[in-house]
Symmetry: C2
Subunit: 218 residues, 2 copies
Amino acid sequence: MPEENKAGIPLPTVRRLPLYASILFNARDNNQVTISSSYIAKELNLEPIQVRKDLAGIGITGQPRIGFPVVELIEAIEKFLGWDNTSDAFIVGAGNLGAALAGYPGFKKHGLNVVALFDCDYSKIGSKIHDKEVFDIERMGHLTERLGVLIGILAVPAEVAQATTNLMVDAGIKAIWNFTPTKLLVPNGIIVERVDLAASLAVLSSKLTAVIKGKKTN
Amino acid sequence: MPEENKAGIPLPTVRRLPLYASILFNARDNNQVTISSSYIAKELNLEPIQVRKDLAGIGITGQPRIGFPVVELIEAIEKFLGWDNTSDAFIVGAGNLGAALAGYPGFKKHGLNVVALFDCDYSKIGSKIHDKEVFDIERMGHLTERLGVLIGILAVPAEVAQATTNLMVDAGIKAIWNFTPTKLLVPNGIIVERVDLAASLAVLSSKLTAVIKGKKTN
DNA sequence: ATTATATCGATAAGTATATATCGATATTTT
DNA sequence: AAAATATCGATATATACTTATCGATATAAT
């Protein structure tokens, strides 16, 4: 079963879109009207042809010798990734990681608005972290429904990851951004995307070992 | 140029190894001596054949009708990923994220030992975060050399990511685990592995949009 | 006006990764 | 003892993703 997504666009392409966006924001700030695939590619160490294919994927065409229209591209990417209309999200788990995520300024630009945190620790409940209130996790169902929140950011200790997930699903959360190292079991229709630090570290380690042992890496 | 690594093992395989490890740890705790590819596959929503191929990649063979030797597999994965002999690492940036990472208990199991943090904020320098001292970033070169640290975990604000990277490279850091959204420019031979939250969020968003619009997802 | 150049899109080819098939083998069941 | 079953490895096929080729086109240079 091949992984699907919005419009049959390959996931590697989806993952590159935010990179393109950041180059494009710069270009726009510089009042550049058009931008070439080769320029974008150079900035990101990619091949121009890949950039062109990716951009074709989201439906924007360029002009020979001219390039792609910067503003149009930005709008298309923002629309594709849902950055145009912000989604509200809860952070579940108000520990170190939850707090760090609550204070991360980049989410807003990416269409994500953290409205509150949840925890089960009474010493945290009622306090504010980065101006966001920490609620009792018992109230998640109530608030999810009332605020129409679909996205939950899971930042609890691994031991309680699955149990917390169950609570989130019961509460009505539809998409879970999982920052724990746990492989979560969820009912059909619930989306889980994991930030897999262990995998990332594994790649770093294996590259480092390769270099130490004298092999090439890129 | 195809991305290389230690032994010509595909990167997707490397990324799956930590998942296999966690299943295997469970099996060992349960005194299981052998484990089948089909069991591992089921736990991780993979195909048995993929598990077998991956395991063949790190050089462990199984037995028909029996499966793979649990302990041997664990040792092979730990060795491949360098989890057997711990590497020291610095965290650069003692803000929210740096602090969260300093307190993350999982790194030790993955062969990573955070020995100290660095920052340029005098209100933080000299203090301790999760029992680890915060040093003036000026001293990074000195300490990197003295302690033989190769890995730096970059957790500074995006604006200073490149400048900080330059300092790290000058200090002698060989591998950078980049938690910022910045594409870093580094000299040849320096390894960078990025934890790309924007890409991960992009995948989540695009899947969510797909579901909302009524398409299937897995 | 003609030629050169940068760039595009469409199609084709290549590479990397995942999956399927199938004979072989160790255990369990009959 | 024979048959059934679960599993493996090797080889082959299929899918997904990336990169190359090339004719077309808009601008700039001669």
